[in-house]
């Protein structure tokens, strides 16, 4: 909604701009962005964009760092991140720019402050013992059954650092699961699981085509290696997690 500016409103807007510049060093668009942010985003990402319930600290987000004038933030806001529980938001072009301006302003404030910030630094995750982690990897954790430090994990610490590495270590979200579907005719199709609920099973074949069937009309077998990560969650001690993390960080 746009409201035509009356002379009084114009004067007021000018004043607000003046006050904003002096007191908060904030562009007027970021003041509008603040309202949008508080209404729509602050519950999950914190009122100051530094993280809240379920949503990450945006002042440390790589996407925010790469964003120019909302070009990266905008699409995420409009499309949501359904897999992470972030809904879509219906905002106009100018609103997205204002919102991005506010997030960038908050990022600057956060970066200029010492301490008092939420979030996790790489240095926070250095309490483990790499030798013990290696033992766990090859022993109780049974990691070596699927992974190899010279194979799939070679250089993993160069690809992921800090919290990202720890999160992927605990559960690799988005890891592909293989599926083989047997039709009533006896014909077999193999591919990656593309959709699954109680009623429908979908796969993507090696040519990139999607196929789906009612679960009641076919037989299927799923091999989801990531399931082993979910099962391990109940077995780790916190020391195991920190030691494993220390070991993985040696794989550069």
């Amino acid at each position: 909604m746009t409201i035509p500016l009356t002379p009084t409103l114009r004067a007021f807007a000018g004043l607000a701009f003046f006050a904003g510049t002096l007191l908060f060093a904030q562009a007027p668009q970021s003041a509008t962005g603040e309202s949008l942010f508080v209404q729509n985003c602050a519950f999950c990402h914190g009122r100051d964009t530094g993280g809240g319930e379920t949503g990450p600290d945006l002042t440390r987000s790589k996407l925010v760092a790469d964003d120019v004038g909302g070009d990266k933030i905008g699409p995420v806001v409009l499309n949501g991140r359904q897999e992470k529980g972030m809904p879509r938001f219906k905002l106009g072009d100018q609103e997205l720019k204002d919102l991005a301006a506010y997030i960038h302003a908050q990022k600057k404030i956060a970066e200029s402050q010492k301490g008092g910030r939420r979030g996790v630094d790489v240095s926070d995750l250095q309490t483990g013992n790499a030798d013990d982690g290696k033992k766990y990897f090859n022993g109780a954790g049974k990691c070596a059954g699927c992974h190899s430090p010279t194979g799939d994990l070679a250089g993993v610490a160069a690809r992921y650092q800090g919290l990202k590495l720890e999160e992927r270590m605990l559960y690799p979200h988005g890891a592909a699961a293989n599926i083989e579907v047997t039709l009533t005719s006896g014909e077999k199709l193999a591919g990656k699981v593309a959709y699954q609920d109680e009623f429908t099973i979908g796969l993507r074949d090696s040519n990139g085509w999607y196929h789906s069937w009612p679960t009641s009309s076919v037989k299927f077998k799923i091999d989801a290696p990531a399931d082993a990560h979910a099962e391990l969650l109940a077995q780790y001690s916190d020391d195991d997690v920190h030691n494993l993390m220390a070991y993985l960080q040696t794989l550069r």
């Binding site: 809240g52 008092g116 996790v120 926070d124 309490t127 999160e167 605990l170 009623f199």
Partner: protein, 515 residues
Amino acid sequence: MNLLKLTLLAALASGLAGAQEYDPNWQMKPPTDSWPGYHGDYSGRRHSPLTQITPANVEQLGLAWSFQTGESGQLKCSPLLVNGILYITMPDSVWAVDARSGHQLWHYAYPPNKGFHIGHRGVSMYKEWLFFTTPDAHLVSLNAKDGTVRWNVAIADWQKGYWMTMSPMVIRNHVIVGVSGDFDNLSGFLKAIDPETGKTQWRWDSTPPAGTPNATTGGMTWMTGTYDPDLNLLYWGTGNPTPVLNGKVRPGDNFYTCSIVAVNPDTGKLEWAFQPSPHDTHDWDAVETTVLVDAPFGGQARKMLMQTSRNGYFFVLDRTNGKSLLTTPYGPVNWSTGVDEQGRPKPNPNKEPAPDGRLIAPDEGGLTNYRSPSFDPKTGLFIVDAHPSYAIYFAKPADGAFGWAGADYTVWGKGVLDAIDYKTGKIRWTHELGPNGAGAGVLTTESGLIFTGDAMGNVLALNTGDGKTLWHSGTGVPMQSSPITYELDGQQYVVTSSGGVLFSWTLPKSLIAAR
């Protein structure tokens, strides 16, 4: 025309018009053509006596109508149904919808404001007035006939960090409201408001005022409670302490945060309290529905209160005095060292958030959250949408002692529907609902059906006895509300929502005529 005829005609006319002034006592035993409170009735069981839709015919269930809000937000409310009119909400919005046809009667838009627009649970009613809470922590009374504003009062100061999402609870002439506010160190409270004037009748504070040395803040009262008319006790769950993840600055149990409290609705006097999470450091509000059940326990007739708490434990209390009858986890829980003599889990200090992270089950969203569970009296099953999950929790001195004061990250989770035997806490069956979590509320009916939703956006009807799926329909996105049911003109409807759309499901008319 003689007097008798006139009287008969008048009676007929009032019968035809059908609109009766809303009486809060309907919530003691709701007429089946209504859903007169957040939970339907005062007990919070979300169990309907209706039996037209059965396990045998539910496969023929189809869409009666749908209602599009046109909003990109999600409906998280429980619809209110009075006199054939459904009232549904989103932050800043109330719609009145014809429960027979699904067409809009009116829409009320609250003026733009800077409060948190995170969700809205619904309106409540008294006589011909609706009560609506707002993101800037006001309570607005609307005329149910046309949605015009009758009065608007401030409940809390939004500039301090309060907001409101809850559906008020009406008991006689008390409109009971609670508040939200996790991002600042604030005290939670309940207020009883006079439905006629908007004046405060009493206030009960869950924590001491901010700034009290060594004391906690928090204990937000952000969900609707339940009520026992015989004991005249109002039961309410309170939220987590603040600062949320840093417990060092608030030593002790932190009363009355993460608590179930019994309050006299006429005076606001606390009668008893039970604390599901002493000294919480994981954001596990104990606001989940306090379900009231009268049934045998341990060979004795009992007035009980049951809660599947966000912290992963199922609690059964004697609701006359708040004493524990049963405490047991209903999914993965790794943060306690056992249960104390009062039936409260003992938090493990080594599982408090730490600078290098602690792996915790369940995650911050909890093993369940605000969407309603349901109790089925016939089977004695407590049915809950559960979320087995793990997260890593961090807190370091640099995170401070205000508001969130740390960070946490969900690692893994999934959705299951659990059927808990209330006598033992044992899970009789589990129905998988999909990756990450479903989050739909649960409704049971006397015919032996469960209505809920899965993680992929299917609405489900299950057999209460064994949890097997009997019917489903894809609605696009997962349900984030709790279903209701009612009967109008001899036809039973089940109402669910997904995204910004309300769906009404019913059986074919031909099938009902043949019965």
